[in-house]
């Protein structure tokens, strides 16, 4: 039997809600197995131990929204063998990328009385726009089972079993009745990547796109359906594509069509 040296894991956070790294702590039943299998060398949310690189695997949550973050991610990339981005913020910019559609200074005025104290970039961008990324794990938040699968795959040097097809496939495999066909509820499932487990339709609501665009999204065909049979107005269709993955190219372009 081969024994391997414990790989060193780092977990870093940029602009985000913390939910994706919390998913790691939420792997309650498997967490100790994870800490047995890897040495957690950097994970602020969990440990005071602050070890420097190099790392074998780094998980990155969050999008790049400040000049400081843009610099930091470059340093992290240099110090790790594998870099995995986790969550909508890190893979497409996240909800804060809504700023990319307007003038960020306007936003500053709304939230802060002294905008001059705030240092921020015009845009919120995914990690892959700044450095090379080895694997992007989607979701807002990520699915903890998928997180374990990706970690497992990287530790065992295999291909992660993460499908890129539509949410509909997962929904049907689960045996859920399609909410769009049977209830007339608008659902982003046909253009959204599988991964959540088909939660929304099973909860009697339409998918709202947490996992971002699927591999070959035909957003136009779905938007036509929303505007046609489902009688939605342009604003609603625009907002549907403009949420947690608003900055993902396919969704961005579709939302821009409905101004």
């Amino acid at each position: 039997m081969t024994t391997r040296a414990k790989p060193r894991l780092g977990v870093f956070k940029f602009s985000s809600c913390d939910g994706c790294q919390l998913s790691l702590l939420d792997c309650e039943l498997e967490l100790l197995a994870v800490t047995d299998a890897v040495e957690i060398a950097y994970f602020l949310e969990a440990t005071r131990k602050d070890m420097k690189g190099p790392f074998d695997v780094v998980l990155v949550e969050g999008s790049i929204t400040t000049p400081h973050e843009a610099e930091l991610i470059r340093q992290i990339r240099k110090s790790t063998k594998a870099l995995i981005t986790i969550g909508a913020c890190a893979t497409s910019g996240g909800i804060q990328a809504l700023r990319n559609f307007t003038d960020v200074n306007g936003f500053l005025d709304i939230v802060y009385a002294r905008p001059d104290y705030i240092e921020t970039l015009e845009t919120a961008t995914p990690i892959a726009e700044h450095v090379a990324v080895d694997f992007e794990l989607r979701g807002c938040p990520i699915n903890k089972h998928q997180l374990l699968e990706v970690l497992n795959a990287f530790l065992n040097k295999r291909k992660p079993n993460i499908p890129h097809y539509a949410e509909c496939i997962e929904c049907k495999q689960r045996g859920t009745v399609c909410v769009m066909v049977a209830k007339g509820i608008a659902c982003l499932g046909p253009v959204t990547q599988a991964g959540c487990g088909g939660l929304c339709p099973a909860t009697h609501r339409g998918c709202f796109g947490c996992f971002g665009p699927m591999e070959t999204p035909n957003t136009g065909a779905l938007a036509d359906r929303f505007l046609g049979e489902l009688k939605q107005d342009k604003g609603t269709v625009q907002r549907a594509f403009r949420s947690f993955n608003a900055n993902a190219p396919a969704f961005r372009e579709e939302s821009l069509k409905h101004d």
């Binding site: 039997m1 391997r4 498997e30 197995a33 994870v34 047995d36 299998a37 374990l148 699968e149 970690l151 497992n152 795959a153 530790l155 065992n156 295999r158 079993n161 499908p163 890129h164 097809y165 539509a166 509909c168 496939i169 049907k172 495999q173 689960r174 045996g175 859920t176 009745v177 399609c178 769009m180 066909v181 049977a182 209830k183 659902c187 499932g189 046909p190 253009v191 009697h204 699927m214 591999e215 070959t216 999204p217 035909n218 136009g220 065909a221 779905l222 036509d224 359906r225 049979e229």
Partner: protein
């Protein structure tokens, strides 16, 4: 087979469920769930969708009130029986490291014994087609074969056609002539609510013998045959004839591009189709790397991975993927298994979120040919 025909009263239908359960079968029948009729485990006739009908169109489905007490007054459930006979996710085996190598541990769950009650003609035809796929070639799928061998089939014939049905043009219904254990036709005539039953196998005959029953009258036989005729005559859709040859010759049709503008490659059609059989396999390890597992999951020809070989996917365009689905169903299947892969159930039409209609696309290709 006059002695194999009889009439069972509605109030005695429960006895059939009870006998099947007694013989170790889990009855699975149509049931209302989340605004649709699905196949699900039931405990007796009370769980059936009493007085429920369905309304169907491309990308549209709603339950309706029939205004009568029919238990099988709907058309077909959302998904076929493949979900039971070839589950969406199957663990094939696990393995553990042993010395320098590994050991395979076969730890599949034992095959369940299902009694499927309320099986439609199209459903049965689909099952017979999947039998050819999974058991007809040089290699059989053991799991499927076992589940299939274990099951008891109670067909209920249709009394009307759904708007998406086109089994008549595919010669897979509404008549049922083989492959079942028991065939029922549900007849309501004034206050009389009965099932005309006909055994189709030894198992079926044995069950029928144990049920309270009366002799079938001429009127019952006529009522059942009228229903079948109504179901055939009521079909609004039809598959064009000669579609297998047409599609084989139209692989380069311009029409594929046209469908691709509407088709989202979401794969719903393949998931609901009762004959679609494609699957993928996932090998995974646990964190320690000491245990591994192989899982088989339904796959769809609409995914990019499906045709991925080192260097890229063979079918990148939406057009080529829709073409793969449709030509496989309607044309290549005939060469592969000697029958069409489409039983005309219309599910792919109903459950396509944008209502793409395989019969209409076939017509369009014919027109452009």
């Amino acid at each position: 087979m006059p002695d194999s025909q009889a009439v069972i009263d509605r109030k005695d239908l429960g006895a059939m469920f009870a006998l099947l359960a007694e013989e170790g079968y889990q009855p699975v029948a149509p049931r209302v769930h989340d605004g649709a009729v699905l196949y699900a485990p039931v405990s007796g006739p009370d769980d059936l969708p009493k007085g429920i009908g369905d309304e169907e169109e491309g990308g549209h489905y709603r339950l309706t009130e029939r205004g009568d007490a029919k238990l099988f007054g709907h058309t077909k459930p959302v998904q076929g029986l493949k979900a039971h006979l070839y589950p969406a996710r199957q663990k094939l085996w696990s393995a553990e490291r042993a010395g320098h190598g590994f050991r395979i541990v076969k730890d599949q769950d034992p095959a369940p014994r299902y009694a499927f009650i309320g099986v439609r003609a199209c459903e049965l035809s689909a099952m017979l087609i999947q039998d050819k796929v999974f058991e007809g070639g040089p290699y059989a799928d053991k799991g499927y074969a076992e589940r299939r061998r274990n099951c008891f089939l109670v067909v209920v014939t249709c009394d009307h056609a759904g708007a998406a049905c086109f089994c008549a043009s595919q010669q897979t219904g509404p008549d049922v002539s083989e492959g079942y254990d028991l065939k029922l036709a549900e007849i309501i005539d004034g206050g009389r609510h009965v099932f005309l039953a006909e055994a189709g196998s030894e198992k079926g005959r044995a069950l029928l013998d144990r049920l309270p029953r009366q002799a079938a009258s001429e009127a019952d036989l006529k009522a059942a045959s009228d229903q079948r005729q109504a179901a055939a005559a009521g079909q609004k859709r039809a598959m064009i004839s000669g579609v297998a040859e047409l599609l084989a010759a139209q692989l380069e049709s311009r029409h594929w591009e046209d469908v691709a503008k509407r088709c989202m490659s979401c794969g719903n059609c393949t998931m609901v189709c009762p004959t679609c059989f494609c699957s993928t396999m996932e090998d995974a390890t646990d964190l320690s790397g000491l245990k591994a597992e192989r899982t088989r999951k339904w796959d769809s020809c609409f995914s990019i991975d499906y045709s991925y070989i080192h260097g890229g996917s063979v079918r990148n365009s939406g057009a080529s993927r829709y073409r793969q689905w449709m030509t496989h169903k309607l044309s290549h299947w005939v060469k592969q298994f000697g029958v069409s892969g489409c039983v005309g159930c219309g599910r792919c039409i109903i459950w396509c979120p944008v209502g793409i209609d395989i019969t209409a696309e076939a017509k369009a290709i014919l027109k452009g040919a």
